[in-house]
Amino acid sequence: MLDMITVESLTKKYGRGMTAVDDVSFTAATGRVTGFLGPNGAGKSTTMRIIVGLTPATSGTVMVDGRRFTDLPNPGTEVGVLLDASAQHAGRTGREILTLAQRTMGLPRSRVQEMLDLVSLTSHEADRRVRDYSLGMRQRLGIGTALLGDPDVLILDEPANGLDPAGIRWMRDLLRGFADQGGTVLLSSHLLHEIEVVADDLVVIGNGRIVAQGTKSDLLAAAGTIVRARDAAALAQAMESAGLTFSGHADGSVRTEASPDRVGEIALAAHVVLTELRAAEGAGLEEMFLELTADTQREGAAA
């Protein structure tokens, strides 16, 4: 396993003290899907634009396969990129957009039809202008453009956005297959369920800074314990006097960093009857995400 994408101390400042990306470092490895998560405005798209050279970084470096992106002789054949499916000339047909990319990369013409088949755009749709495409059709076209050059690396910004359920399933299988064949995928998404199913590694960012990174299994395992008691107040008091930090949820459950084992002991000693006690990994990525990014959420204390 190799680090295919290496981001080191990346910082991007926009004027007047606005820091969109703040000293971000992470890697995306071959054979793995790396999920890139964070609330709105966290800096995911900015980071991805910097990786492919569309936005200049204020400081820090990005390497793709050991080289700067701009040093790749024919980038489309090594790195497939989809940043914004709507960023296409509205007056071109889908087929023309693929043809322009195919010609730029110097690929055989047959690749265009292959990609249209792969992303399930019919010939009739391919000959319509992108102006008249639905969101999901644009997304499919964008995915087709990214895959056109048969790259080793995929960088996708919210690719599942607008796809129908079958499309999402297809996309998930595609990314899994791509990584299993030794490809590298860096994927941002707000569909946490998708990320949870497909990603091997996670990078979580909030307000431009990395708040967590690691393998999905490690991160979810580290998420602590969910506990629920018949007498919630008594449980809270017991945990507080034991020095645990915890947060309560609207449904009456309480979540803490401590292990289920320790929470059980505390409850027993305080004679609190528990109705639920389990490791929090079952709570899943959404819990972890909301907790990790609580400080940076727009909605305030969402977790």
Binding site: M1, L2, H89, G91, R92, T99, I210, G214, T215
Partner: protein, 276 residues
């Protein structure tokens, strides 16, 4: 803010070696000719682009027909055809030049373009050469239409065709038209917005010249420097077919001021700006 960083970030689970890194042979850099080909294609493959190109030919034919129908017999000379055909060209060619650049920003297709070729200078060089090619070729198309118009017009009127435009004069007209187109290209590069660049172009061609003319008529000092600093004024002799060496110097000096300098600034900015 607490930072939960689980190091090492690279996961410990090992993968079979077979799936690691697909081998591929080293690739050649994308040749400029290929980018030029793609940029030429982009000028035709949208509805607006296609009709802009088509309108070049259509206005050529309409202008020719109008001369044949309305001009008196002794006016059916090649220079009249050339002038009638040239007028719409000097408006349409700059539009083509503008859109060749601005569509990447206004339509946001630059996101793909500059990712596939992450060297903006190369893409813009290709666009420049593609636009120039279109400009020169369309002038030769216009030449053919003008020749046919002259032959047809004089045949209809029963007079001998009058060929009163020399090859050298035609070359100057081509130069003047292409310079106009490249001025549009420069505006596109500096403004990077289709509507803004087009409006600026019309201010430059329709509003500015009478104002500068008024200034020259009333201010002695400006009348003296105008040929040196007024680019469109300096271009006019090109269409008349002869330039003195001093007029060439006027063209060069005003060209540096109105074309090369802004172009350099535009290039400098575009190569550093964010594409989003």
């Amino acid at each position: 803010m607490t930072t939960t960083v689980l190091t090492p970030s690279t996961p410990a689970t090992s993968q079979p070696d077979a799936v690691v890194g697909r081998t591929r042979r080293p690739q050649p850099r994308i040749p400029l000719t290929r980018i030029i080909g793609v940029e030429l294609r982009k000028m035709f493959n949208t509805r607006s682009g296609f009709w802009l190109m088509a309108s070049l030919v259509i206005t050529n034919v309409l202008a020719t027909a109008a001369i044949i129908v309305f001009a008196p017999d002794d006016q059916l000379t090649f220079d009249n055809f050339a002038a009638a055909i040239g007028a719409p060209m000097t408006v349409i060619l700059p539009m083509i030049g503008i859109l060749a650049v601005t569509s990447e920003w206004s339509q946001r297709s630059g996101l793909t373009t500059f990712t596939l070729v992450p060297h903006r200078g190369r893409v813009l060089r290709a666009k420049f050469l593609a636009a120039t090619t279109v400009g020169v070729v369309s002038m030769f198309v216009a030449l053919v239409v003008g020749v046919l118009g002259t032959l047809l017009g004089s045949a209809v009127a029963g007079v001998d065709p009058v060929w009163n435009v020399s090859a050298a004069h035609f070359a100057l007209i081509v130069l003047g038209s292409v310079l106009g187109m490249l001025f549009g290209f420069m505006l596109g590069l500096v403004i990077r917005n289709s509507a803004g660049a087009i409006v600026t172009y019309f201010v430059y061609t329709l509003v500015l010249p009478p104002l500068l003319g008024l200034l020259a008529a009333n201010q002695r000092w400006f009348a003296d420097v105008q040929p040196w600093v007024d680019y469109s004024y300096a271009q006019r002799p090109l269409f008349e077919g002869t330039l003195t060496s001093q007029q060439w110097q006027h063209l060069a000096a005003s060209g540096v001021l109105w074309f090369l300098l802004p172009m350099a600034v535009g290039l400098f900015v575009v190569r550093r700006a964010e594409v989003k």
